[in-house]
Amino acid sequence: MRILSLVLLAAGTCVAAPFVPADPKEVLETLPVASADRFSRELRQLRLELASDPRNLELATRAARGYIQRARAEADPRYLGYAQAALAPWWDAGAPASVLVLRATIRQSLHDFPNALADLSAALKVEPRNAQGWLTRATIQQVRGAFGEAMESCRPLERLAGELVATACWAGGASMSGQAEASYERLRDALARQRGASPGVRQWVLTSLAEMAGRQGKSRLAEAHFKEALAAAEPDAYLKGAYADFLLDEGRDAEVAALLKSEIRADGLLLRLALAEAVLKQPRAREHAEALEARFYASRLRGDSLHRREEARFTLHLLKRPHAALRLAQENWAVHREPWDARIYLEAALAARQPDAARPVLDWLDENRVEDVRLASLARDAAR
C-alpha cells in the first residue's frame, strides 16, 4: 500500500491531494539561490542579452558555462538543460570547437559517454591546444575505467595547463592502476610546490588526495585532506558526498546527519543523509527514504538511467532488497566504472549470496591492479 501510494505520488496524482493554502504569507518554496543574488542577476542579465541576440556565440558559450557552473554548485540537472538551450543554434549541426567541448560536458553528465567522447575528438582535432577538452576527455575515460587512455589524454596538459593540473589528471588514472602510493606522493608534492594555485584547483586536488588516501586505508590522512578541501573553497555536492561517504565508513553517522541535515535537494546527498539517519534510527529517515523512492520512480518514469548507482545503494541498504540492488549495480557497471560502482556491485552480490555474479568486477580489479582496501576486503569475501 505504501509503495502504491508512492507510485501515485510520483505519477503526479498525489495522495496528499492538491490544496489551497490558507495563509497568503505561507512560504511554498525556497529557491536555492535568491533571485537577487549577484550571480543569479548576472546570469539573468546574460539570458536577456542572449534572448535578443541568440546567435551570438560569445554570449551563448558564456551563458552555457554559467549554467554548467550552477549545475555543479546545486547538483541540479535543469541548469544543464538551460545550458543546452543557450547553445541551441549550434546544438544539432555546425558546432564550433568551443561548443563541442561544452556539449561533451553536458552529454557526459547525462551519461552519454560515446557521444561526449566523439565531440571531444572532433573538438581536439580542430583545437589541439584546448586544455579543457583534454581534461574532460581524461575524466570520461577514467569514469569508464579506461585508465591507460585517460593517462594518455592527460599528457598534453603539462604544456597547456601546468604541472599541478597535469599531475592531478594523471594521478586519477595512475592511482587506480597499480601506482596508488607513487601517484599519491607525486600529487602531494606537486601541490606543495604550487603555492599560488587557485582555491578551486586546490580544492579539486585535495579532494583527490583525500580519496586516494582513503583507498589506501589511511583514514587520518584522508580526513586531514578532506578538512583542508572543505576549507579551501565553498564545498560543492561532490566534495560533500565524498566526505559523507568517508564518515559513513568510519561509523560517524551523527556527523553525516549534521553535515547534510538541510541537503534534501540533491538525490545523492539525501541518500547519504537517509543512510546516516537510518543507522541513528532518527524519525526523519523514513520520510527521506520515501522521498528518494518517489524520485527514483519518477526518474524511471521519464526513462532516465542516471541514478543507478545511487538507486542500487538505496535498494541495498535502505530497502534491503539485495537481488534488485544487484540488478541495478550490474546495469550501472555496464556504463560507469569507478571505485564506488565496483563497491556497490560487490556488496549487492554478497548480500544476495551470489558471489559468482561479482566475477566481472573481480576480473576488473585484477586486470587494472586496483588498490583499495575496502574493495580488496569485499573481493576476498566474494572469491571465497
Binding site: 510520483a10 505519477a11 503526479g12 498525489c14 496528499a16 492538491p18 490544496f19 493554502p21 495563509d23 497568503p24 504569507k25 505561507e26 512560504v27 511554498l28 518554496e29 525556497t30 529557491l31 535568491a34 533571485s35 537577487a36 543574488d37 554548467i68 557552473q69 549545475a71 555543479r72 554548485a73 547538483a75 541540479d76 540537472p77 535543469r78 538543460g81 538551460y82 543546452q84 538551450a85 560536458t105 557526459q108 586544455a131 579543457q132 581534461l135 574532460t136 575524466t139 577514467q142 569514469v143 587557485s198 578551486g200 579532494t207 560543492d236 561532490y238 565524498a242 540533491a266 538525490d267 545523492g268 520515501e290 522521498a291 528518494l292 518517489a294 524520485r295 518514469l301 521519464r302 526513462g303
Partner: protein
Amino acid sequence: MRRILFLALFLASLPAAAHKPSDSYLALRIDGSTVDVQWDIALRDLEYAIGIDTDGDGAITWAELQARHDAISAYALARLTISADGERCASTAAGHQVDRHSDGTYAVLRFAAVCPKDARSLTATYALFFELDPLHRGLVRLEERGATRSLIFSPEQPTQPLGVAGSSPLRQIVEFSREGVFHIWTGFDHVLFLLSLLLPAVLRREAARWVPVPGFRQALCKTFVIVTAFTLAHSLTLTLASLELVALPARWVESAIAASVIAAALNNVYPVLERRLWMVAFPFGLIHGFGFASVLRDLGLPREGLVLALASFNLGVEAGQLAIVAALMPLAFAIRQTWLYRRLTLSAGSLLIVAVACVWLFERAFELRLFS
C-alpha cells in the same frame, strides 16, 4: 559521477549527486469529448520561466503565486494544445491549487478541454519549457475508459495521440465490438467452458459409451442449441448487470465461473447429463454474463449511448464466440471417429480443463495467486 575541473574560465565539477530533473505531471482524463486536465508544474521552473518571486527574497509565498496566476495560466495553456481532428479544443483554466512533490512544491492547474462531440481522434501537443530546458519532460497519466496508461512528452516527441473520442457512434460500435471479440478470445475461462460443452456435440451417448453422430447436420444442431442457450443466458445477465439492475460480488462471480468450467468438463468424463447440454449452458451462461459485465464496466461505459455500447460489446462477444465454434466444429466432426478424439481429446482434454479450472477456483475463492 566524477567531477570535471574547468580550467581558466572557471573551476567546476559536474553534479556528483544529481538532483531530480525538471518534470511536469499531467493527469488527463478523457470523458466523452471532454478532456479533464490536472497539471502540476514545479514552482522552481515557473520562477525561471516567468518569475514568481516578485520581491527577490528567494522564498515564494502563496500571495506571490496568487498574483501570478493569470500569467501562469496564459503561459502554460499556450504550451499545451489538445486538438480534435487537427482543430484546437477550447480550454480555460478552472482553478489553481498547489501540491507537494518529492522535490518541492508544484502549482496545480486544473482545466477542461472541450472538443467537438463528433471528434474522431484526439491529440495533445506539449511545448512547456522545451525552449528553455530541452531536458524537461512532461509525464502524463492518461485515463481513458477506466484504463490508465502513461506518456512522455519530450522535444523529440512533443505530439502524442490521446486516443479516440467516445462520442462518434460508429467509432463506439467498432471499439466496443472489438473489445467484446478480444475479451472472449483472451478470456480463457469462457473459451474452456464453451469447449467443454462442445467437445461432445459431435458424439452421442449409447450404452455408457461415446459413439459418433452419423451426420454433420446432427452435430450442427446440437452445437446450435448449446451456443444459443449460452448466448441468451449471458446476454441477459450482461444487460441486467450493465444497467445496474442486478449486482453480484466479483469474487463470487469469478469463483462460480471457474466452478462452471469444472462442472462442464467433468460431465464429459463422468456424464451426469448426457443429452440436453443446453440445460448446463443456460444456467452457467447466466453467471458468465456477470463476468462480461465487469469487463465492460472496467472499460468505462459512456454515459451517452450506453445501450449502443452494450449491444456492440455483446455483438463482439457473439462474433468472437462464433469464430471459435466455426474453427472448432468441422475439425471435431472430421476426427470424431478416431481414438485420438474420443479418448485423448474428450477424456484427457476434459480432465486437463478440470485441473486448470480447479486452480482458478482456488485462486479466485481465496484471492490468492498460485502461479504468476
